[in-house]
Symmetry: C2
Subunit: 104 residues, 2 copies
DNA sequence: CGGAATCCAAGACGATACTG
DNA sequence: CAGTATCGTCTTGGATTCCG
């Protein structure tokens, strides 16, 4: 997969460029360990289907852990991998820029 | 428009979250002043229409200047505004992350 | 050359229902 | 509760054309 990209910035954007990825990382980092339903509650605009998809992609890119408890009803917790943690400075700098430039 | 968002990170993502925005900013910053056709040449995968759209959005968000020379054939140069420059640290940190994590 | 407008295809998304 | 699958909709994007 890495061979798809000739250029580092495109590799990075392929991982974090998804419409909700930064917001999802932002929330996982905030709560450290967070259940699926809790993420959904924090990001109401995202649909069930899309949230699942994006989490799956983040997992397969090695950004988040998925910890499944084999219970009924199911319980799944998400948290950041080391690679995921290394993205947090990006998330934070984007947030800071927003704070400085949002006029309200 | 700013009132659309309750949260800084969403405001920021609305501006830079577009599929090609970061790549476009990356290129404008690299050349400081760059013509439309030159951007197109640097990002061959983006179509004429989409590049125009994204540039227009970046212009209306106050990120890039559009400098039109009234000639035939037309000549249009793009450059970063101050607000646009303030986004460069974000672009660079994303690039750095890509360099560290791209395995090739 | 850069941009607007058109038309059409591809794919993203939401809603829903079903499973363990 | 979390995830998958299906389906219909609707946005997005590409190709093309025309204009200044």
């Amino acid at each position: 997969m890495a061979t798809k990209f000739n250029c580092p910035i495109r590799y990075a954007l392929d991982i974090i460029g998804g419409r909700w990825k930064i917001i999802i990382l932002w929330n996982i980092n905030k709560y450290k360990i967070i259940r699926y339903g809790e993420i959904k509650k924090r990001i109401p605009e995202i649909s069930h289907k899309v949230l699942s998809q994006q989490l799956k992609e983040l997992e397969s890119d090695g950004i988040v852990y998925r910890n499944e408890y084999y219970e009924i009803p199911p319980k799944v917790e998400y948290s950041l991998t080391d690679k995921g943690h290394s993205l947090i400075p990006i998330v934070e700098i984007i947030n800071e820029w927003g704070q400085k430039n949002m006029s309200c």
